[in-house]
Amino acid sequence: MIDANELASLWRQHSARLLIIARAWGEQGEDGVQEAFVALAKQDRLPDDPLAWLVRAMRNQMLQWYRAGKRREQRHKRDADTASWFCMQREIEDGLDARLVTSWLNEMDEAEREVIVMHLWGQLSFRQIAQVTESSSATVHRHYSRGLESLRKRANGPKVPQ
């Protein structure tokens, strides 16, 4: 059984990354994060790559929910729609507006958003993402480049009225 301290450390290290990845999949993220960690706690030993394992477990769980047609409560959905995926960082001069970036991400192509979020904020390598999404590294890289470009276009385009 995995040591409690080890799990606590993994929670501190990865829970925020997992949350944003879960959000990129369009469902309520916190349930997915919890389920992934609960599944990890049931393992006899720590996986070789805990982060990739957690992402895979979370993705499988969320796909299962999706296929079963289970939707989150409307209240949660609403919260997810309006909440920023990022902390507000007023101290960073010329920093990007967290809410604006959240809205851009929500508008993006699903496959591109998934890769962008996993790589930029989930800190997964392209190889790890390819394993999670069951695609090739080349495909992942292509989605990433397109996604990055798509975000840049949005940033340079007309601002969303506040």
Binding site: A4, L7, L19
Partner: protein, 237 residues
């Protein structure tokens, strides 16, 4: 915006954004994980017990977390273990399950009937890595969480259509406490005198008997969980 003309600059700018943390705290997450792990191990150890197992992590966590409208859910499967202590709790729970479906503890009028049926202390609980793990998780994370959760509503629900045996929170915590090696080793009063009883510290593990007699209850004990318990009142404010 600066840096948008170069791909790496734009990438770096995006990277500066920090993802938000989950609203669930580490304490609550650890409790859920420990609970799940214990359930999984108990399930694996049992054969033909005839119980269904529903780990209602989400409901429990939401219940713990949602201020105002939330509650606490506890469906215990340790009850079907062969241990005598567990069997005692199981019997108590069966007595309790003859009552109506839901025991709710409203904020105005605390009702702790479920806690009154399982007051006999547990004597033996098999030492397993799961229960040991859970004891650690509870001591380190859940107790501090309880102390900071005094404004949450408490709702205990029992569903007779579900074969999961209900054990009240007090009995459950007692079972867990029994598994810890340090439990009963030194009274909390003695430790308090030594000045090493601090919140969040492993040494905050209370001695059950001493706490029953204590005039200043700190944790969940049969005495503090009584009908007129101040703890309940504090907890559901």
């Amino acid at each position: 915006m600066n840096g948008q003309n170069s791909s790496s600059g734009w990438e770096n700018q995006l990277r500066l954004l920090q993802p938000t943390q989950p609203t669930i705290s580490e304490a609550e997450a650890m409790y859920a994980m420990g609970y799940a792990a214990a359930l999984a191990q108990n399930k694996a150890q049992q054969s033909g017990a005839g119980h269904s197992y529903k780990v209602m992590m989400a409901a429990m966590l939401v219940g713990m977390l949602v201020a105002g409208g939330g509650g606490f859910w506890l469906r215990d499967v340790i009850s079907s273990s062969p241990s005598s202590a567990i069997a005692q709790g199981n019997a108590n729970a069966r007595v309790a399950s003859a009552e109506p479906n839901v025991i709710a503890i409203p904020a105005e009028q605390p009702d702790v009937r479920a806690n009154e049926v399982a007051e006999k202390p547990a004597e033996v609980l098999p030492q397993s890595s799961a229960t040991q793990w859970l004891a650690t998780a509870i001591e380190r994370w859940w107790y501090p969480a309880i102390s900071s959760a005094s404004r949450r509503n408490a709702v205990i629900e029992r569903d007779p259509s579900d074969l999961t045996v209900f054990i009240d929170r007090q009995h459950f915590v007692h079972l867990i406490m029994e598994t810890h090696a340090g439990y009963r080793r030194t009274s909390p009063v003695a430790r308090r005198r030594e000045g090493d009883l601090k919140d969040g510290n492993m040494e905050t593990v209370p001695d059950w008997q001493s706490l029953e007699e204590s005039t200043q209850p700190s944790y969940l004990t049969p005495a503090t969980l009584g009908r007129n318990s101040t703890l309940w009142k504090d907890w559901i404010q």
